[in-house]
């Protein structure tokens, strides 16, 4: 017994000493510049290297602050901000998903930096949609948008062609016809896959359908809104989309498409650089194409704006230096560089002209064009509750628990009182 315990202790000690080397932050963020430490929290995964490089550059440029960036997974980061709002223990600079920003502003997580940014004099170059997601109800700015993205339809052209469809669908009619032609539910093959999971991702993917039919969040039980729920419900009822969408995150839906379980996918901008050209490069052996979200019969078309924002947290040390870093991060050049590395769309108009891949690469061109009709979510401090009502209604329709009208009415019962108190902008 004693011998064994000793052995265990030795093993444990060996394991411990393995990890005892100093933590190598200098390699990542550059040599110590003597500045005070500043911490950024983010949930960038594929983009982390680009962010770290940006910090390294900035650390070499000045010596007032020394910036390090820490990855915290998305779920965890949201929890940290919420607890931080109560305890005051926040990073100096924080990243947040754009629709969540209004809630955190309301909880006092991000500082008002309007005056500093106005003094910077470059705000006019930013697109309205992304910039508005950084504003509170009085229009004060609490951060800067970092990137934009939106949704479009990704088609497996080989599957479409095998079903006798030569051209990627552009209208709703063509889209539904393509769904019908490519579906074979008995074999586990469906025409279309999307994410309808019970979190913000589910709402994000539903919004384009809602606005394509002429519906809106503010009028969620209108005939047009009900029609959008009906379209989703029909996709399921006719066997053109798998019910499993309710358990799929956007990455899982992509994996289903990549496993040829679906011919078409509602896909995001970032998936080009991070998946199609990277993690799935060897998996995809077929021809594929992007097309914008389908046009409805009356010509209406919609997508949804996604993206991340950065803000300076309340109580940050060196607040002004932190704002200066945000400004550095979002110069036209840096924004363009960043978006090229991360495969995203810029947030300022003067960045677009600096690179040509947004127009030259026909895949990105589809997203670039879709931004013209992409709608924002919120900003609204109670967006999480609104969002929950939306994805719950969608799930109820998908799972056949409610018909479209009932689901819409139930969503309205939650959303309307909230909007009556604080309307959407």
């Amino acid at each position: 017994m004693k011998k064994r315990l000793t052995m265990l202790a030795v093993c444990a000690a060996a394991a411990l000493s393995m990890g005892l080397a100093a933590y190598a932050s200098e390699d990542i963020f550059g040599p110590d510049n003597g500045g005070d430490p500043i911490e950024i929290w983010h949930y960038f995964e594929g983009e982390a290297d680009a962010l770290n490089a940006l910090c390294k550059d900035y650390n070499a440029m000045q010596d007032e602050i020394y910036i390090t960036a820490t990855f915290v997974s998305r779920e965890e980061l949201m929890k940290q901000y919420t607890i931080g709002a109560v305890s005051g223990e926040l990073p100096d600079i924080g990243m947040v998903d754009s629709p969540d920003m209004a809630s955190y502003i309301s909880l006092g997580v991000f500082d008002d930096i309007t005056d500093d940014l106005e003094a910077w004099g470059e705000l006019d170059n930013f697109y309205e949609g992304p910039l508005n997601s950084c504003r509170d109800s009085e229009g004060r700015l609490h951060g800067l948008p970092n990137n934009s993205n939106c949704l479009a339809i990704l088609c497996n052209m080989d599957m479409l062609k095998a079903a006798g469809i030569e051209k990627a669908p552009e209208t709703m009619e063509e889209f539904l016809a393509a769904c019908e032609a490519t579906s074979n539910p008995d074999e586990g093959v469906y025409g279309f896959a999307m994410c309808a999971v019970s979190n913000e991702e589910g709402t994000f993917q539903f919004i384009p359908w809602l606005y394509t039919t002429g519906g809106s969040v503010g009028d969620i039980d209108s005939a047009e809104s009900i029609e959008s729920f009906q379209i989703i419900g029909d996709l399921i009822a006719k066997g053109w989309m798998s019910k499993e969408a309710v358990n799929w995150g956007q990455g899982d839906a992509l994996n289903a498409w990549a496993a040829e379980k679906a011919a078409m996918l509602e896909s995001g901008t970032w998936q080009i650089a991070q998946n199609l050209d990277d993690s799935l490069k060897d998996t995809i052996t077929w021809e594929y194409a992007y097309v914008p979200m389908p046009k409805s019969a009356n010509g209406a078309q919609a997508s949804v704006i996604g993206g991340e924002n950065f803000g300076v947290c309340t109580g940050a040390s060196h607040r002004d230096a932190c704002v200066a870093f945000l400004e550095f991060m979002q110069t036209a050049e840096n924004n363009a560089d960043w978006c090229e590395k991360a495969g995203k769309l810029p947030v300022r108009g003067d960045a677009v002209g600096l690179k040509d891949f947004w127009t030259a690469d026909e895949r990105y061109a589809v997203f670039n064009e879709s931004m013209n009709f992409a709608v924002p979510r919120g900003p609204h401090p109670q967006w999480p509750t609104i969002s929950e009502a939306l994805y719950t209604a969608e799930q109820a329709v998908i799972l056949g628990e409610k018909d479209a009208a009932t689901a819409a009415a139930d969503a309205a019962a939650v959303i309307d009182p909230i909007l009556a108190e604080t309307p959407l902008p």
């Binding site: 017994m1 820490t70 995150g249 839906a253």
Partner: protein, 284 residues
Amino acid sequence: MTEKISFRTSKEARKNLILSIIALLIAIVFLFPLYWLVCMSFKSDAESFGKIVTYYPHNFTVSPWLENFTDKDFLFSLRNSFLIALIAMTISMVFGVTAAYGMGRYKVPGQKGFMLSFLITQMLPASLTLTPMYLIFSRLHLLGTYLGPALAIASGTVPFIVVTLRPYFKSVPTALDDAARIDGCNVFQAFFKIMIPAIKTGIITCLVISFLNGWNDLAYSMTFNVKPEMRPLTANIYRFQNKYGTKWNCIMAYGAILAMPVVILFVFLQKYIVGGMTAGAVKE
């Protein structure tokens, strides 16, 4: 590991065979999820979310394992997991075993109150204790240390130890510590030299469980330690569930890696955890 069993009759030998076969069947059914975990961890990305379910890795690959092992923070995480679990275990045992002894061997006024407190304090769900505990640790400057999560984890283990060990302490004959007292041992000597060895099985069960509670903890360690060099292995769980989709093979390899040290530890201590099945075999 197993005690030698000799069979006097062929009837006993047959019974042994039948029981062993049943046990094997139980093991196959029960361990299938574990087999699945290991099997998935050696599949390629495409195979792990493919249309066809394969029962062994057709495209055998170790890259999911490498992806975990080559993570630049892996060694830090491993060390952190060990330290957090060891500290949590120590705190749990120190406070838990003594309290269990006090509750089991002494009749003191307010005993019911103590017992109730031990029971109810572990009843708040972890999600709700996170914020107030965070406030305490922030005040005590324990954020970003190992002690913070360890204290939080142990607060759930101490009541567990009290509840499980109390009956053990009760079952030890009073004659045993009376004899010790007569031999001139004081209370603490009697506690360490007589009582603890007398309930060795229970003590080791509690040691293992309190270590496991620390090793497997996710919520506390992640919430109270944001720095990558302070986070335990469990904190990697969310990394394989994101924009890339659920990377089943990586998640499964991660699960296997997490389970491995514990399984090794368990194999070493198994005899003491579930050993001594018959009264005669308790003597070691």
